[in-house]
């Protein structure tokens, strides 16, 4: 036997021979670890309670080794599932008809294309363009557009309420309102083509916003004066977080109508629009980047 072979054999023997691992040591019954839970507003650790007064960030959740407690993992996964479900949900084909709205489609053909081709979501398909020309009122002050955006769940949940509130608030301010439409696979800039086609002074698209963890029911609204293809984000004013826990649809409708009125009076929108006189009445709608806090709730509860 070679010297190397002898050394290898000796090493194997030294490392336990036929039993390379030490014998298993029997363990006494493992006690249940202390409860470490995903905090509710008034439960959990003191730090969780105190911080919840100031932030919805998940704090004071403790740790197991360096990882999360089981309850935290489950709540987190449930929040993730809610967000993913909101993105994956699609508007049913007959939803427009059922709600008495003129149904329009962007040039997008399926959901994957909707996510990957924002350019196609900004233009109407040929049939929709014809339908809009033939079926919608022209020359109005405000053209409201309801749309799925990144959450059809939000559109279906509170879209009609927001559309109604916005329409009534516009009419109350003496603005004429166009035929209500709902657009499928729509991006924000689709309002340019729709608004330009009907010759509206202001186009307003109300659409499901990009979901956050545990949320998927928020709507955003983007308004633009003199809608035309080629407008950019700087030409628009927006309001986000429209839902029961943020700005409720009724209040949002009022503020958006005020915004539309200001655009028509000043004949402009976007960065150039002066909202200093209206800031108080407008609330959230006067800001451009603001997002109100979400309230965090437990999603997974064991059956009693």
């Amino acid at each position: 036997m070679s010297r190397t072979r002898q050394l290898i054999d000796a090493l194997r023997e030294e490392l336990g021979g036929a039993a390379p691992m030490p014998p298993v040591v029997p363990l006494a019954r493992v006690p249940a670890p202390p409860a470490r839970v995903f905090p509710r507003r008034h439960e959990g650790s003191r730090y969780a309670r105190e911080s919840a007064e100031h932030t919805t960030a998940l704090l004071g959740i403790g740790h197991v080794g360096t990882r999360y407690a089981t309850d935290v993992v489950l709540q987190f996964q449930a929040e993730l599932a809610v967000a993913h479900a909101a993105v994956a949900t699609e508007l049913p084909d007959d939803w427009a008809e059922q709600n008495g709205l003129l149904g329009l489609h962007s040039r997008v053909r399926d959901h994957r294309e909707f996510l990957l081709r924002p350019d196609l979501g900004r233009r109407l398909d040929a049939a929709s363009l014809e339908r809009l020309k033939a079926g919608a009122r022209h020359g109005v002050d405000v053209q409201p557009i309801l749309a799925d955006g990144l959450s059809a769940v939000a559109c279906m949940q509170s879209g009609i309420a927001l559309l109604e509130a916005f329409t009534q608030a516009c009419l109350a301010r003496g603005l004429s309102v166009g035929t209500p439409v709902v657009a499928r696979y729509a991006r924000v800039w689709l309002e340019d083509e729709i608004g330009a086609t009907v010759g509206a002074k202001v186009a307003a698209i109300l659409l499901g916003e990009r979901p956050g963890l545990g949320t998927g029911d928020g709507l955003s609204a983007y308004l633009v004066h003199a809608p035309r293809i080629g407008n950019t984000d700087g030409d628009r004013n927006m309001m986000s977080n429209i839902h029961a826990r943020g700005t409720p649809p009724e209040l949002a409708g009022e503020r958006l109508a005020l915004l539309a009125r200001a655009m028509i009076d000043q004949k402009k929108s976007g960065v150039e629009l002066d909202l200093s006189q209206l800031a108080h009445e407008l609330g959230d709608a006067a800001r451009r980047t603001h997002r109100a806090p979400q309230v965090r709730v437990r999603l997974v509860e064991a059956e009693p």
Binding site: A57, I61, H63, R67, G212, R291
Partner: protein, 456 residues
């Protein structure tokens, strides 16, 4: 220059080097959106085969955005280190890849040529590399920088605490920050993305963070990531500011959309060198991310990997303390799914390190991208193994203002322990003194995760 190759008796021809670079990319939804990607897997290999025979000199002579049209192209050309360039200028991209992978080519040798590389060269060699190639080379490159802490030493992995708040509630920001510190996070920077882009709120947040860091003797840096012009105004208000931040794009047009230019950044850097509050020589912080140029139609027909490299060409002018690619932030129209986001993270980290930058990565996805939480956790380990200088850290990885999923307070100590990494030496000493980590027993110390132990 003849840009053609034959595969199974079919000749593949390309018009420009820009087209070759674009088609050599692995699949990315953003390159499809821009209409510049290869039409088939075979064409992709053909482009790589052509690229492998292009010399680094030819790449220098053919920037993807013409010299006449773009101030970044001009700046790179005028400031390139000729001695460093001469050392590798006649190598083909294929030979350069092999030189980088050779055992004899250590980090010091790579550093010697770094200043002679244009962004297009870093992007080109990246396209010939597999994920493990990218990690192997990046792990050799140690880029060490210094502010209040020393970042990028071998065996270290740092993190940015990102205690964002949807309404900039300072109390809320501080609660989140204290918890991050208690998990041993924040040795790269405490960096807040503000909801309101105003000088007053930037100054208010910085002053509040500064007070808590001083009170607890935490050796790190702070930064509020408002627009650079807003931060300059905040400096005039007299607030502390350890690092100055700006998002960068890879073309003059893209930077215009961000409201910046070379001249403005030069001015900002000068001001920061005089007025910044950190002790070290490095005082700038930049963020980038594949897709930013296309989103403002400023891509000039180039692919998003090459444009990303050009951001690094811009960044290195300012000897930054931190550069961070926010990989999956924009959305699936640029990086569709887990494999694309993973690949982009490893590419960006590699290209940045090769160009001499202290690269960190925001390993992240938005909720409309097709990437699972498990895939994201895997990416954090890959980045750590590749020697990534720092990752982000948020409560359960959830950014409650920007609505996306990133790295968590719990992930940082987990990845460090798996890979045997430690934070910056200054912060490490603080952590041990505070009982946050027990290195003797290689486990969390008694104060680990105890946010109340950090004084408000």
């Amino acid at each position: 220059m003849r840009l053609a190759v034959t595969i199974r008796s079919i000749v593949h021809r390309f018009e420009t080097l820009r087209e070759v670079l674009a088609k050599a990319n692995p699949p990315k939804s953003g390159d499809d959106l821009a209409g510049v990607s290869a039409r088939s897997a075979v064409e992709r290999v053909a482009a790589r085969a052509v690229l492998a025979n292009v010399t680094l000199r030819q790449l220098r002579e053919n920037p993807v955005v013409p010299y006449e049209l773009d101030e970044l192209t001009r700046m790179v050309e005028h400031t390139l280190d000729e001695t460093a360039f001469a050392a590798v200028s006649e190598l083909t991209v294929g030979q350069f890849r092999e030189w980088l992978l050779e055992h004899e080519t250590d980090g010091m040798k790579i550093r010697s040529v770094s200043a002679g590389l244009t962004p297009e060269m870093a992007a080109a060699v990246c396209k010939l590399m597999s994920n493990l190639d990218l990690m192997t080379v990046a792990a050799k490159c140690h880029v060490v920088v210094r502010a209040n802490t020393t970042l990028g030493l071998p065996g270290r992995m740092s993190s940015r605490v990102q205690p964002n708040h949807p309404t900039d509630d300072v109390e809320g920001i501080l609660y989140s920050m204290r918890e991050g510190l208690a998990y041993g996070c924040g040795d790269a920077v405490i960096g807040v993305n503000p909801a309101t882009d105003s000088a007053a709120s930037t100054a208010e947040i910085l002053s509040a963070i500064d007070a808590v860091l001083k009170k607890n003797g935490v050796p790190t840096q702070h930064c509020v990531l408002s627009h650079v012009t807003v931060q300059m105004k905040a400096l005039d208000l007299g607030c502390p500011m350890d690092l100055m931040f700006q998002s960068l794009s890879g073309t003059e047009l893209g930077n215009k959309a961000f409201g910046i230019s070379l001249a403005l950044m030069d001015e900002a850097w000068d001001k920061m060198k005089q007025r910044g509050s950190a002790r070290g020589p490095n005082c700038m912080y930049f963020e980038t991310g594949q897709g930013s140029a296309l989103s403002s139609a400023a891509h000039h027909g180039a692919d998003q990997v090459t444009l990303e490299a050009r951001c690094y060409g811009f960044a290195r002018r300012y000897q930054p303390f931190l550069v961070n690619t926010v990989i999956g932030f924009i959305g699936p129209e640029y990086l569709e799914d887990g494999p694309q986001i993973t690949r982009a993270g490893l590419e960006d980290h590699f290209m940045g390190k090769l160009l001499g930058l202290p690269m960190g990565c925001d390993a992240c996805f938005t909720y409309h991208a097709r990437m699972g939480q498990d895939e994201l956790e895997s990416l954090k380990v890959l980045l750590g193994a590749a020697g990534c200088s720092y990752l982000m850290a948020l409560p359960v990885g959830d950014d409650i203002m920007l609505n996306y999923q990133s790295t968590s307070y719990h992930d940082i100590p987990s990845v460090r322990r798996l890979l045997g990494k430690r934070p910056t030496p200054e912060f490490d000493a603080w952590m041990v003194e505070r009982g946050i980590w027990d290195y003797e027993r290689d486990r969390p110390g008694p104060a680990f995760g105890d946010a109340e132990a950090i004084q408000p």
